[in-house]
């Protein structure tokens, strides 16, 4: 009898009655957009229909339209804007499942620290959503997310890692790391920039607008410091991406034939040499590559490919660095490296009111490239 009573008490306690939530009575926000207009925040919340998230077998007739709702509200602070969304929300809104946050350029330029505080203090949001910057209209972004009427959760916005594995153009970042760009004194974060294109895919002869990543905003000390197009990110891909899966590199051989190789997972090490007001950064990149495309009739060898690829990569590292440095953008995180490993020097150059970055010049750039295979077709070695 006593055991029965104890058991009953235990099961009543296990229910967590007050905080019980039923999934059908909650609005799950899956993506959050934040814009800053004049002096107030504009929030966009994207709701997904649950039945459209998991694709059922036999229901793929292709007629159903992907169903997303977008809410919009304004306010003087983030939480005020969120609150203004509630009166018409019909049910409780839950933010813990937000998978992506898109911030407008205007916000990144001005109000990033306040925004992060507002988002993270409330506990509603986690540190794990993917973050993006954009110059586009956010509601337009949110209404164009999925290909082939797939679940919106399988899109570049909600799940950028999948595409990144095949084509590592712009490295996706989580909110967690954006905080570094705000609070760390010398860190620079390459925040992916997102845009809409309708020139690639069409359906029933009508162009479909879909999301793509087109570059990065460099976030440092709480602010957007500038935009870099993905074409000028090669150097960053070889040197400073945390994990670059693979990215194609195209060049021409001496005989004028085109070759494409896939550069795979470069690992870079940086050494700084500091001597009289000049900091020399020596970069060593260890990397593998596969040959994926050679023009027909080419007599090029693996050794030649390796040689040209090395020169190309070194050149890209140098030119991309110089053009970023001209805008005071630390894309190889050399300033951060100086701050962490040579703090005294960093302090010294810091006090001159100039970024220490302007004192850092590239010295030796050494590429240690191994061509591992030539995919399905053979290639002679030398």
């Amino acid at each position: 009898m006593r055991n029965v009573i104890v058991f009953l008490i235990m099961i009543t306690m296990l229910t967590g009655c007050w905080d019980l939530k039923e999934v059908q009575t909650v609005n799950f926000v899956t993506a959050l957009g934040i814009d800053y207009v004049k002096d107030h925040y504009v929030i966009y919340a994207q709701l997904l229909d649950f039945s459209k998230i998991s694709k059922q077998e036999g229901a793929s007739s292709g007629i159903e339209k992907s169903d997303t709702w977008i809410g919009k509200a304004e306010g003087g602070t983030i939480s005020e804007a969120l609150n203004h969304m509630y009166p018409s929300s019909q049910q409780q809104t839950l933010w813990t499942h937000v998978k992506a946050i898109v911030m407008s350029k205007a916000l990144l330029d001005k109000e990033l620290p306040d925004t992060l505080n507002g988002l993270l203090r409330s506990r509603d949001l986690r540190y794990t959503p993917w973050v993006f910057g954009t110059e586009q209209d956010i509601s337009k972004l949110f209404s164009s997310v999925a290909l082939l009427n797939q679940s919106s959760l399988n899109s570049e916005l909600m799940d950028p890692e999948e595409l990144y594995k095949q084509y590592s153009s712009v490295e996706p970042q989580r909110l967690l790391k954006l905080v570094n760009g705000v609070k760390e004194p010398a860190a620079s974060l390459l925040l992916p920039s997102i845009t809409v294109t309708d020139s690639v895919w069409e359906n029933d002869n009508k162009p479909q607008s879909l999301i793509k990543l087109n570059g990065v905003y460099v976030i440092s000390r709480g602010k957007n410091r500038g935009f870099i197009d993905q074409k000028q990110l090669n150097g960053a891909r070889w040197v400073s991406y945390k994990y670059m899966h693979k990215y194609p590199l195209r060049f021409e051989t001496k005989e004028g034939k085109k070759v494409v190789i896939n550069v795979i997972h470069p690992v870079s090490t940086v050494k700084l040499r500091i001597a009289n007001d000049n900091i020399q950064a020596n970069i060593n990149v260890r990397v593998r590559a596969n040959v994926v495309d050679i023009d027909a009739g080419s007599r090029v060898t693996a050794v030649e490919i390796k040689q040209i690829a090395k020169q190309m990569m070194e050149k890209q590292i140098r030119t991309d660095y110089e053009s970023a440095k001209a805008n005071n953008l630390d894309i190889y995180k050399l300033d951060d490296f100086l701050y962490r490993m040579h703090n005294r020097e960093w302090q010294k150059y810091r006090s001159n009111e100039h970024d220490a970055l302007s004192k850092i010049n590239l010295g030796e750039v050494n590429i240690d490239l191994r061509v591992t295979h030539s995919t399905s077709y053979k290639l002679s070695n030398s």
Partner: protein
């Protein structure tokens, strides 16, 4: 027959790992981060030096008191009054320990995932559990700890490993950016948690065999590791500035832990860890408080525990707001504990030293 079995040494070690572990692993982390920022981990490493000395003192005391309760030993060698003072102080101390753990846990539950549940419900539920455990005695507490701890450890490794993806250990540098003062302050907070290893002395009389040097050394390493783990993790995952603003840094590490595409949130596991620690800690603290006193009847002991438990429920739920609690713990509770535990170890070692001198001279005299 079974009920007369005393807890084994390994059970004692597991109990201490839960009891003291939750302080070093959870409660103390915000204080260390706030005072030492990026150098927090250096502070903990350096606090290993005083902690080593302290552990030495504990080994010395332990080898002399063995299966005697500390206040009994005091009574035998120094009379009733010192023993009485000792008992009053440590009853209050263990009561504070129980209150602190209860308050922090209840508040954490409220803030993190049960905003609509009244705190009185959480604190009452917890206290019913802890009261029954402490009433049932040291055997139930240690046996339960032995059952709870393995999964706590497994989960700890789980969260450490799945978060590797988010960690950047470069963020541990530069060190000494702000000089020595922050490190010293952080080191003191770190010592507060580590010195709780002295709980072993209160546990020893109830064990089947006395503790040996190697058990203390083992726990020395474990305790340092328990503090360093979540601290370095927190700095590497977030950054020291963000980590220092967080109210529950150890729990934040759980909030970013997920694996694969379909399981993005696993922080509910942390409730198991946290509650295992808190329950063991509160039960043990109440048990120690009652253990200071001799009761004529077992019922009196139950009433004493019940009084403490009843007192703790409102104190743990509505007594303070969290900001006051945090400030109180940073300014008074942690420093107070440090002073008390240090003074305790020093004075007790000194007393033992004096008692051995007395003994020696009396042998010499005869």
């Amino acid at each position: 027959m079974l009920s007369t079995l005393k807890p084994t040494i390994s059970q004692a070690i597991m109990t201490i790992m839960l009891t003291v572990g939750i302080t070093n692993h959870v409660f103390i982390i915000p204080a260390i981060l706030q005072s030492a920022l990026r150098d927090a981990w250096v502070a903990v490493l350096l606090s290993g030096i005083p902690f080593a000395i302290y552990t030495g003192l504990l080994i010395y005391i332990s080898s002399h008191t063995r299966n005697m309760r500390l206040h009994e030993w005091l009574e035998v060698y120094f009379g009733k009054i010192p023993s009485y003072v000792f008992r009053v102080i440590f009853t209050l101390f263990f009561f504070t320990v129980a209150w602190f753990s209860l308050f922090d846990t209840v508040m954490w539950t409220k803030v993190s995932f049960m905003p609509f549940t009244p705190v009185i419900v959480t604190s009452l539920t917890l206290m019913i559990l802890c009261f029954s455990a402490s009433r049932a005695g040291i055997r139930s507490i240690t046996f339960t700890a032995g059952l709870l701890l393995p999964l706590v450890i497994v989960l700890g490794f789980y969260v450490g490993i799945v978060n590797i993806e988010q960690k950047d250990y470069n963020q541990l540098f530069p060190i000494f950016e702000n000089g020595w003062m922050p490190i010293l302050r952080g080191g003191l907070y770190s010592c507060t948690g580590l010195f709780e290893l002295s709980f072993l002395l209160f546990l020893q009389p109830h064990l089947a065999k006395p503790l040996k040097k190697r058990h203390y050394l083992f726990l020395f390493v474990i305790m340092l590791g328990l503090t360093l783990g979540p601290l370095t993790g927190s700095i590497a995952e977030f950054n020291p500035f963000e980590a220092a603003t967080q109210r529950y840094p150890a729990y934040e590490e759980w909030r970013i832990a997920g694996f694969g595409k379909y399981i993005s949130q696993t922080d509910f596991f942390s409730t198991y860890q946290w509650l295992s620690g808190t329950c063991t800690r509160i039960s043990l603290a109440l048990f120690f408080a009652a253990d200071m006193w001799k009761f004529k009847m077992p019922k009196q002991r139950s009433y004493f525990l019940l009084c403490l438990a009843i007192l703790l429920v409102p104190l743990g739920s509505y007594a303070l707001n969290d900001m006051t609690f945090l400030q109180l713990s940073m300014d008074y509770i942690f420093p107070g504990n440090l002073i008390l535990l240090t003074a305790f170890a020093l004075m007790f070692s000194l007393s033992i030293f004096i008692s051995t001198l007395k003994k020696g001279s009396s042998i010499h005299d005869s």
